[in-house]
């Protein structure tokens, strides 16, 4: 998979920060909108294949 490149750096970890296995869940994602994707192009076909076979991205990568 491709990735974007950011310019500005990450902040330093504040003193005393703690999280279970270094991770802290804070909130759920905001509600989403239902929309229709156009069934066109190679990337849609890959999406449809995953959806029909109930596969995830990483299963698809293999």
């Amino acid at each position: 998979t491709t990735h974007a490149q950011a310019g500005l750096p990450l902040p330093v970890l504040p003193e005393g920060w703690a999280g279970e296995k270094d991770f802290k869940a804070v909130a759920h994602l905001s509600p989403a909108t239902q929309r229709t994707i156009e069934p066109v192009g190679p990337h849609f076909l890959a999406h449809a294949r995953r959806a029909r076979h109930k596969r995830t991205f990483s299963e698809d990568d293999r």
């Binding site: 920060w17 869940a25 192009g41 999406h47 029909r52």
Partner: protein
């Protein structure tokens, strides 16, 4: 609603010879994807790649394309033009405006028909719109089969974004009756975008695209969220008052008035003279897209008088201003309708024949910021011919799906697969800038991305390395407007050095600056990546599942381990 699936009973996948078809009210085109994945737009027997969607009958013989178009002068009653939009409609719902100078549509049961002499002799027949469209498809099939040397029997066909289910069905039936199985109907602006995205130099990215399809009798604009190569239409607009024929009309009136001045005869009052005036005005208009001067020349324009004149581009752009401004308003309106700002638009694709007009592209260039790419022949040397975009996209889609069973195509285009959740906000990570300790939103997944989705970013650690905080947040963008305090006389904003222009400009208010800024929203999660090296980078990956559960992973680039955490579905 998205697209019509394949009709049952078509040829089996291994017997298919599929092409792409774009079928407009003004022109049709056909294209095929060759073995090397290159698309070839096919010329018909007359050598035309833009084939006028016109049929004409003389002594029982059928003419199509340019040859039929020439018949508009002498044989307009038996010439059927501008009919695509009538498919699947009843007479009350159609707009027959553009058929004044050709066979008139009439009510026929619950559909539309034309009364024409299409056989040898004087007998008239009533030919339904469905049959007319079938005849047009037969001609296209014939030209494509001739080119490929195979019996072309299936196609991906482009449709406007506002075609109804009934229109889709009528189109599919008309094609079927001509021996063409419809593999899929795809929307015109999406086909145009696919044609650009299929270029090897295009990188898959997240971008907002405006497709302005400016045709002969209608202009259609769409705003498309393109996310990882998947397309979602956010808004559309349709206009029937500002299109190619309205630019023709400007030139018709211009030259008619000039003719009146010399001859005191109005060529618009005689049907045959008007037809000649129209055809030549369109030719002059097209010439003005390439040259800065164009001729207008008609033999025996009216009452046996020949007429020759010229016009330059600047004059044309001045008299056509009202129509040209109409295109601007249409585009600005649909961006707003999508809930976006011009600063949110990354690309503008000019599609349709009228998009060859240089002034339209330069007007769009001034509506959008400099960072927006405008794809038009006059602004980009690598632009694809706007008249070929839709058919190229259709041919690409045809080659992608022609080996699938019809049921598979139907299943994949089913709403169960195409209707999905789209993110309301962007998801990103906070970074810091040198001069402030406030977090700066760095987007990873854009708003309007369909789920499931996976995106990642590489982000540097502080100079010294060490333990870093990964703060995952939602973000929204808004437009910040800054008014300059005073009015400096040297206003560097204006690009053009045109002296006439800058005289006017000096009186104007200094322009306000508009910029897109991120607003940090909900914090979703925090994570720590410890002991990073000096000059290192962290890869942050966000995976959003169908149910909106989120998986965050972060690790130093090139290192093992890292952290991984989950946010359950809301």
């Amino acid at each position: 609603m998205a697209a019509e699936g394949a009709s049952a009973g078509g040829p089996a996948p291994d017997e298919r010879h599929a092409i792409g078809i774009s079928f407009g009210n003004s022109n049709s085109s056909i294209a095929v994807t060759m073995a090397d994945d290159k698309v070839e737009v096919i010329a018909n027997e007359d050598g035309d790649r833009q084939i006028p969607s016109i049929l004409s009958y003389v002594d029982g013989e059928e003419y199509n394309g340019q040859q039929a178009r020439q018949q508009l002068i002498r044989n307009s009653k038996n010439t059927v033009a501008c009919f695509r939009d009538f498919l699947g409609q009843d007479f009350k719902s159609i707009d027959p405006t553009h058929c004044h100078a050709s066979a008139h549509p009439q009510a026929h049961n619950d559909t539309v028909a034309f009364t024409i002499k299409d056989k040898a002799g004087d007998e008239e027949s009533t030919v339904t719109i469905s049959e007319i469209a079938t005849r047009q498809f037969r001609r296209l099939k014939q030209s494509a089969s001739h080119f490929t040397g195979k019996d072309v029997n299936s196609a991906v066909i482009t449709i406007p974004t506002n075609f109804s289910e009934k229109q889709n069905e009528a189109l599919t039936k008309a094609a079927k009756d001509a021996g063409i199985e419809t593999l899929q109907l795809i929307r015109e602006p999406v086909a145009a975008l696919l044609a650009y995205d299929a270029r090897p130099e295009t990188k898959v990215s997240d971008k907002n695209v405006v497709v302005a399809d400016l045709g002969g009798t209608r202009s259609d604009v769409a705003v498309i969220a393109s996310r990882g190569g998947m397309y979602t239409i956010l808004a559309t607009a349709h206009d029937y008052e500002f299109a190619g024929v309205h630019l023709d009309k400007v030139l018709q009136d211009h030259f008619a008035k000039e003719f009146i001045k010399w001859n005191s005869i109005d060529p618009r009052e005689n049907a045959r003279s008007l037809a000649k005036l129209k055809l030549e005005s369109e030719a002059t208009k097209k010439a003005l897209s390439i040259g800065t001067n164009a001729n207008f020349s008609v033999e025996s324009l009216a009452e046996g008088i020949d007429f020759t004149s010229t016009i330059n581009r600047l004059r044309y752009e001045t008299i056509a201003r009202k129509v040209l401004d109409g295109f601007n308003r249409l585009v600005e309106g649909v961006v707003k309708k999508a809930g976006l700002d011009v600063l949110d638009i990354d690309e503008v694709i000019l599609s349709g024949g009228t998009s060859h007009t240089p002034k339209i592209a330069s007007n769009f260039g001034s509506i959008f910021p400099e960072t927006t790419k405008i794809f038009a022949p006059s602004t980009s040397a690598t632009a694809i011919n706007p008249s070929e975009l839709q058919v190229r996209g259709a041919a690409l889609q045809a080659s992608l799906i022609q080996e699938y069973e019809s049921e598979d195509i139907e299943q994949s285009t089913h709403p169960a697969v195409t209707t999905v959740k789209h993110l309301t906000n962007a998801i990103g990570v906070l970074a810091i800038s040198d001069d402030s300790h406030k977090g700066i939103f760095t987007p990873i997944v854009s708003a309007e991305t369909a789920v499931p989705a996976r995106r990642s970013i590489h982000i540097p650690v502080p100079k010294e390395g060490g333990d870093v905080l990964i703060k995952i947040v939602e973000g929204g963008s808004h437009i910040k407007v800054t008014k300059p305090e005073s009015a400096p006389t040297t206003n560097g904003k204006k690009e053009s050095d045109d002296s006439e222009d800058s005289d006017e400009d000096s009186d104007e208010e200094p322009e306000e600056q508009r910029e897109k800024v991120w607003k940090v929203g909900n914090v979703l999660a925090e994570a720590a990546v410890k002991g990073t090296k000096k000059g290192g980078q962290v890869e942050v990956m966000i995976n959003v599942a169908v149910d909106l559960a989120v998986t965050v992973t972060a690790r130093e680039v090139g290192e093992k381990g890292g952290v991984r955490g989950n946010l359950s579905a809301p």
